[in-house]
Subunit: 264 residues, 2 copies
């Protein structure tokens, strides 16, 4: 039976996505966990595929993998999570034998900006992207013809500005170049007209923002996934979140102490 | 010349404070860094001492170490930070040859509560501790006679309740038992009268809250320390803080996705 899993990973703990010898990658760790949990018998016949090969450093909440397995979908989540390190499967769907997760309805990426920028200026630049355009200036992939971006939303949260970009598919480096162009506009280092010209076909190098603040939030299809909640996994998640909160607290208190000349 | 350093460390990265063979401890890492940076020539003649031996898991912002060194205090901070892993020296003072950092004016501990508790109820319980009392129920150390706590402050921050406890000195496990008693009162599992009786000499086991949310914020003396800011260290701090913010963001987004049935 063919199964799709939604998986989350912290990109800082992996050396990119695609299998590589002697490197810990997302695909490598997925396959190791599936094999070790005896979910896959033979990787060559399992038709293992990923929805998105995220760049090194990029994190995911809802990337999707699919494979031919020999357990019921609900049983797979627990078995996978028991074996996978720094990877969380959290939802599952039974899919047709020919299903390839690359063929998605929509992908949603979120970029986190920890810089004091004008949300309005970012929105103004972001509004240029939705629709059908020439995205050759926004990818390192070979010429790809025109592409379609559905939405670019900018919102302020308590400590970061969030840039949410949605499209049926993306090319390599595309979100990081789109956000780089938006940030350059907000910093007044670039004019909106430069983005308009690039989207009309004039080549321009906007550079790339760093990969770590980029999360692949979700990949969606025409069918739903079932969320599988396991108490043990929720406990583990709670412990990891406490660790992360305390780490950030410690760094914040250290910063206060250094900048004020004493702890506050 | 004898030098005192304020040092910060994340307790989750060490196996406690006191030197142990084959374990990475705060004192062990301090001594290794001091030796490797050639600040100490002979550890046996350096009269190396710590202000507080924090429990395993407890973090510090401003613990204090002192030693006989052969560099100017300002030069020591950079040399130490170049060699120490997961330890930050950030302030320094030249001290008399006989100085032992244990003899402090005041120690300030902060406990972080990530639980929905009444701040008023915590304050009411915390108000019982300041002054001279019998703290035998609040330590695992041998009978210590009466001790004096100066202040217990409770405040709410954006994601945690902070309990700040100040005293000239503490006994082993004391802050974690004081906070355990305060939390038990706020949960209505304990009466204020039980704390009053214990402080008057009736033995009671209040248990201990976990060590990780406890930070030794500062140890103060009758003399000031000079804060030493190095641009490289500030850059490194900024990068660590971004890592920590993204880690917490990733866990938060994962939690949202699991609890809502999809990323939000």
């Amino acid at each position: 039976m063919r199964v799709a899993l939604k998986i989350a990973y912290d990109g800082q703990r992996f050396f990119g996505h695609q299998r590589q010898p002697d490197r810990r990658t997302v695909e490598g760790e997925c396959l190791a966990a599936l094999r070790s949990a005896k979910i896959l018998r033979d990787p060559r016949e399992s038709f293992f595929r990923s929805a998105s090969r995220t760049d090194r450093g990029v994190s995911a909440i809802g990337n999707v993998i699919a494979f031919n397995g020999n357990l019921r979908p609900e049983a797979i989540v627990g078995a996978f999570n028991d074996k996978a390190r720094d990877l969380w499967a959290w939802a599952t769907a039974e899919v047709p034998a020919t299903f390839h997760p690359r063929h998605a309805h929509e992908r949603w990426y979120r970029y986190h900006l920890y810089e004091d920028l004008s949300v309005d200026a970012l929105r103004e630049a972001g509004a240029l992207f939705p629709g059908q355009h020439d995205f050759r200036s926004f990818t390192s992939d070979p010429p790809a013809g025109s592409l379609s971006v559905r939405r670019v939303d900018v919102s302020a949260s308590h400590d970061a500005i969030l840039v949410d970009v949605r499209a049926p598919s993306f090319r390599r480096g595309m979100v990081r170049r789109v956000v780089a162009a938006m940030v350059a506009c907000a910093r007044e280092e670039l004019r909106l007209a430069d983005i308009r010209a690039a989207l009309a076909g004039t080549r321009h190098d906007f550079g790339m923002v760093p990969p770590e603040p980029l999360f692949l939030m979700d990949v969606s299809y025409e069918f739903p996934f079932q969320v599988v909640r396991k108490p043990k996994a929720l406990d583990e998640w709670g412990a990891l979140r406490l660790d992360a909160r305390l780490r950030l607290r410690w760094l914040g208190s250290l910063g206060d102490a250094i900048s004020s000349g004493g702890a506050t």
